[in-house]
Symmetry: D2
């Protein structure tokens, strides 16, 4: 049986020795750290929902490699239906956690590396694909979390990897040994990294012929010596340290971003999946980014559902839901959110089989999807703040609500329509605050902007993937610059 329970997953983390820093201090028991734990809970939900019969069809699937029942997060997509179910699974998780649940990067990396290594081998006679397939069977059978790892430090953005003053600005091979390679560099923005069992490292962008040292793809366990993790700050992160959890807004769940430094890390050959094939670097990047741009048409929609729900609830408790402008704003939120979902579904439905047999999304539509994701969540959040009212940012602390003397007054004056609305408003306002300007905004807004590539990256891809000359020809036929041979009737 290849499936872990949520509890087994959490237990599997407890024994790991990671070199992890936060607020300038080394963190030993990170599983029970109140700032980190919510992100582990969110990840654990990818296991938990797979245990529930209601979600079995969405969360689990039969492995194309082993025939066993596995978690979809470790699956190679075998059809457009698989691609669409991926998006639906992500929307479900977003709804259940209201935050980033972190396990998508691995799934997206598997599918990209699987097809790319197949094509590298076809050209160069290497055996990366076999190595990777073995590795993936191991992942599936142990139901592991793998961090797909791409973004380098990049130094001066106007220079390519080989031109950087500091050659480590992009992760690179610094030594090639008989038993493997040694790598150095830093991967930024690593979502869910210390909640992962494994790291799957990919190159960050196109490489020139002479930049072989930077064209490297490999996997290592997260506890591999030489790796240093530095926990990223988030807006309002330390509220999680407070005794009363109400002010966190999202009581149980949260995200995680880690700066991951590879300080001369050894990788054995069987875990190396690309080593200098610079001409395949672009393919790998585009496929991973493509899958990940699709992902956002699921997960952000799920968080959006949560935020819309919070907006609906707060207007109920404020007693204003029946106002026509309120209803109309909620319709607009839904409209924008479903447009994102439509894009996630469309790039899946238009997917195609790769040479290696798994399915790839439609790259143009996946970029369209992500481009919309860089816009609509911000507008949804703006409307949510409109509907929440000013208390969103002026509400006293949870401790004030609990204070023996002033607490009753604070509650009296935050009571709205109906009974017991004071605490409900308090909780909902904190949730809306969380998603629109707190920890949750990190994932719902800024990650929507930059995750899987910043907006300009999608525009470049759109520009490359649309056939403008074909469109020009269409126009020239219609206005008579080119002859239209279709018209041959009387």
């Amino acid at each position: 049986m290849s499936l872990k329970t949520a509890q087994e997953y959490i237990d599997s983390l407890r024994t790991r020795k990671l070199n992890l820093y936060m607020f300038g201090e080394k963190v030993d028991n990170y599983v029970d750290n109140p700032i980190i734990r919510p992100s582990i809970n969110a990840m654990a939900m990818t296991y938990k929902l797979a245990e529930e019969p209601e979600y079995e069809d969405l969360m689990t699937v039969t492995s194309s490699l082993t025939g066993e029942k596995i978690n979809r997060f470790t699956h190679l997509h075998q059809s457009t239906t698989d691609l669409m179910n991926k998006v639906k699974m992500q929307r479900l998780l977003g709804q259940k956690t209201g935050c980033c649940f972190q396990r998508c990067v691995g799934m997206d990396a598997f599918n990209a590396v699987f097809s790319t290594t197949f094509e590298i081998d076809a050209k160069y006679g290497t055996n990366y694909h076999e190595r990777f397939t073995k590795y993936l069977i191991y992942v599936q059978q142990n139901d592991l979390v793998v961090d797909g790892c791409m973004t380098d430090a990049r130094g001066d953005r106007s220079k390519s990897p080989g031109q950087q003053p500091d050659p480590d600005a992009y992760l690179r091979v610094v030594e090639r040994r008989e038993d493997g390679i040694v790598v150095r560099g830093c991967k930024l923005h690593q979502t869910g990294m210390v909640n992962s069992h494994e790291i799957l490292v990919m190159p960050n962008n196109s490489m020139k012929n002479d930049e072989k040292d930077w064209a490297v793809c490999f996997a290592v366990p997260t506890e591999t010596p030489g790796i240093i993790y530095v926990y990223g700050r988030q807006s309002s992160d330390t509220r999680k340290l407070e005794a009363n959890k109400i002010d966190t807004g999202n009581i149980n769940f949260g995200g995680q971003e880690i700066m991951t430094i590879f300080d001369d890390v050894f990788v054995p050959w069987e875990r190396v999946f690309m080593n200098g094939e610079t001409d395949f670097s672009t393919m790998l990047v585009e496929r991973f980014a493509g899958y990940h741009r699709q992902s956002y048409g699921g997960c952000k929609v799920g968080t959006g559902d949560t935020l819309i729900g919070a907006a609906k609830a707060i207007t109920d408790y404020n007693g204003v839901y029946k106002a026509s402008h309120v209803k109309d704003k909620i319709v607009e939120m839904c409209h924008l959110n479903e447009t994102l979902y439509a894009c996630g579904i469309a790039c899946s439905a238009e997917g195609r089989k790769t040479q290696s047999g798994n399915y790839m999304i439609d790259l143009l539509l996946a970029n369209i999807c992500k481009q919309n994701v860089t816009r609509f969540p911000y507008e949804i959040a703006r409307i949510a703040q409109d509907l929440a009212g000013g208390l969103l940012v002026t509400l006293p602390s949870a401790e004030d609500f609990d204070h023996p003397e002033i607490g009753p007054l604070v509650k009296k004056y935050t009571q709205a329509a109906g009974d017991n609305t004071s605490e409900k408003r308090q909780r909902l306002l904190r949730l809306i605050e969380n998603i629109t300007m707190g920890c949750g905004a990190v994932a719902y807004l800024t990650e929507s902007m930059h995750g899987a590539g910043s907006p300009q990256a999608q525009r470049i891809m759109i520009s490359r993937l649309v056939d403008l000359e074909h469109k020009k020809e269409l126009a020239e036929k219609i206005c008579g610059i080119q002859e239209n041979s279709d018209i041959n009737w009387k």
Copy 2:
């Protein structure tokens, strides 16, 4: 063989006697009328492309009723792939004609009436479904164009059909005879009506129990006595009467909108598909509207492709395409256009089988699709006008370009980058003018706004179809108002 050629289609119109008026005069030979002919050409393209091997898979399909090869425009969708192919076919036609090709309303009506009559019969033991199926076989076997006909005059919008001062404000049964019914009323905005062989009339909206006379669905040939057609004006319509066609912009194709008056028209019983079942009126309207809202994710995208192509071409001829802001604006046009396509595809991919066996689109996503269609074409058109430059609206007439004395000067001063650009610019500017403020704007903009229901109609549907209480529950679990039983680990 069930397929007509384009020539056969046009010939089939020549013999029809229609009671048609335009500019206050009766039109006899409408097939060769220069204002009407472009709309017939556009319709003919739905036949022409079905003749071409390149498009055979998209344009033709095996009938689920007869097993014969038929034009997809007469098809009952048998799968989500069929639904997606419908959208692709519509995009193709939009690309080839740059305008409304008018045949979708019939296809959308077939599929809505087919499934609705099945459900009426199941409840009431009527035999509408059998009647309709026979009728549709006749349509398929003769490859006919059918105008799906819904929008009533509606009089005072704040009153329901039965409350109107003039009971004819909604089309209604005025007499029930042994051999059939007599109807009176007027259907507005009938796209492609006089280019059709048949009319399939549906009710316009929800009906109350006592509004049985208005709950009527039937089909009649377009040349049925008692029907009066009044041709609608379009912006710049009379340019089609001018000798030089360049100023029309779209040389061969155009749209058509007809006010269709039923002045006591007899319908035999075998052509009556609903007769007083007021409780199914809403279902029929929503299904037809749903299919038609999907359609716009195809046809408008095709016209959008044409407009983007024209914008690309004019910037080439103006010598400005390489400017970064120009490229970026074209990327934005593509982005918006592909977002519409994504919505058309998504509501198709999420389609489901009806009780009668044909496939229905996802209603929520189809409404999302149409809502975006009421916005993005306007922005695409705005950008096209930006890229076209001011000449778009100050260019002299084609006759001035041809004038022996001033013609050479006009050409000299409209020459841009490279040779022979004067006439190319002239043609492209006229095309952009056509689509953004001429005849083509009727279909690309205003019909995008109002066809298949005005924006508020979609908002009402979105409001009904999203489950806000479910979203509210999601939020309340996340912020702790409701307990989250999923979290049961340590």
Copy 3:
């Protein structure tokens, strides 16, 4: 007395012999030509309103040059109040005509040439300013219309005037004689040209040192030999030729755009105001464009008022005004329209005195104003089409309404709420059609985009006029990169 009546203005045109072409034919009596006359009527309103006591303060002013009462359209602005009144006058005219009234380009040119010639003379010791002042007194005393004339043919946009394959792509001096200069070239998009008495020609853009032939500014009467006028087409222009005027939408008024060819035209020295001072070309262009970008914060707002009024009226007659979404859309139209007005007022209120004594608008805010004008009218028009309903583009012709047989049926089925609404709806729909996709859209939309410079021109100016380094310094002080010496307390 320096003021003409509207009738005197029209009479003054009747005697002018212009070499004017339209639809490939020479036009002799252009004053009574049904396509041209509406544009003359619009211009005449600048005289008519000056006759009315109600508008005297806005429309007339005391000349700074002669002390006489003059039409404000010939005035040199003497204060920020004058600048604000200019905008208010333009809004009033837009409200009264619903179209472009054409006289602003001259006013904006006067003010730009007046201050620029002063500064040329100060540097070079020339006497352009004195010449121009005399010329302007002549204009004021005879209450003339002057066409400010800037946009050249420009050929290949990627090349400067001196690099063009055809040197006439920018208007230039081809001969310098003892008594004056001879010029050749073509000015495109000349608004109201044949309704003007005089032409004031300015260079189109920045010039290099060796492009002296193109750095020329001068005035000539419109009937000067060698000038050829070619009338520009507009969407639906020929509806003005039809017997029934209802289908024009705007019954009395319209705009006019003329291609103006200077085929070796002689200009005497006393009418030459710049002749080779290439280093002042940019200043003249920027000042003229600046004033004209301010203008759009008035005139387009006035047309916007008309369109909002039409939208309000059509929703009244459709019986839907009370629907909350309808009211809200009208609020949005007003909001956007007033934002444009705010920009027009603000750049005026922040105006400053030039060296020559007249007042210049704030250049940054004038560019902000125009940039918004390239966006908001399109959105206002989109909402107007939303509120108008589909009949906007499917309504039969006026002749069909008048037809003895079908007319009564057409009226019956276009009757809405209340009595006699059929013709009112017809007229209002035609007006909305006119402004959003007919002749009026030329001015309200496309001219809003390109008049006074295309959007990218404003973005370049904004980029030059904002002080980004100052803003950067502000930020660096606040985050502690630079020390903040302001904080010196305890």
Copy 4:
């Protein structure tokens, strides 16, 4: 001399005994509290800049009441120039503090109460105006900060004050005594309250005739017995408690929002300025809101300048400023920001004298201004996040940068273009985080949404202030529904 120095202002706070709670604890020395102090510093800047000769003309003015030199924040506006200078002063303060400097509410309240009391007295023969004038002289002569205090708790929003289950939901007079009144209630969202010397309380909205107890306006010192202050939380507020200030982003400044509870507070008659005149409640609310909606066209623009500067700086340090899309995005930020400024200036320039002699802004344009403020800062913030890059939300803590072992690695991998960019990027990213999702976002975003009234409040005002019937008449004249008598020429 009426002017305090910044130091004197701060010293004046030290002696005040306030009943203030934060995080469930009573705060005694609030002046030195690290969470509160930044807000005091921001307020102090309104004194500090008045000391600087460079800003003297903007920051100080001659009192219309005493003829003495006073701080403009205590001034009654005497002209449209005064109104425009108010906006410019606010922009300056926003630039210098990057946050809300809190003193505007008092200024806006003075001007509203001054003119309203004049009109109450004129109708009822009361002497509120004289009382208030004396009070304002006291404020001016002591250069005091006054909190203008309006928003009530409001309970169930669908009910008016007199209908609330809890009558204290709106602040009200609970006792009328010989020497004054006793009031009870709660004012929410009180900006800068504990940094103020005085509170000027106004009613929150329109009142019915029988709601006299709620129609009350008065002033009391902040240390008046019975008042309880509860400090509102802000996103990331506790970062101010950390030793290293870099992570606060805004090193010295911040905002403050206070729930202010009036638990039976006595007010002597000479400080009562309205007492039951329900028919003037609307006027007072609209005037205060109007002035405050103008204010946002200054202060938010100043913060916007800071954010634009930060975006410019971060793109410099990232080495990407030269990319055309980056430049264009900064132009867009400037465009939106200056549009807000234009609205602030325009409603000032169109101001008018009240009956009492001070100047009132144009109410329609002030509402237009605020409506844009509810939109554009969100878009500016979105673009800022785009330009900042993903590090914005994944950056390790300041303590990690300082750590002896990992600090050098963290700096190595956050180095970008040029030397020493690591700390600069760190500081700028924290500033952008502050303004877009931290403490600063409270003022820059959510307060922009809700301060001075939520967006719907402006829409209601716009709806009331535009003359739709006049616009309708304009349209009807142009399309011929009404006759146009202006056209009387041939």
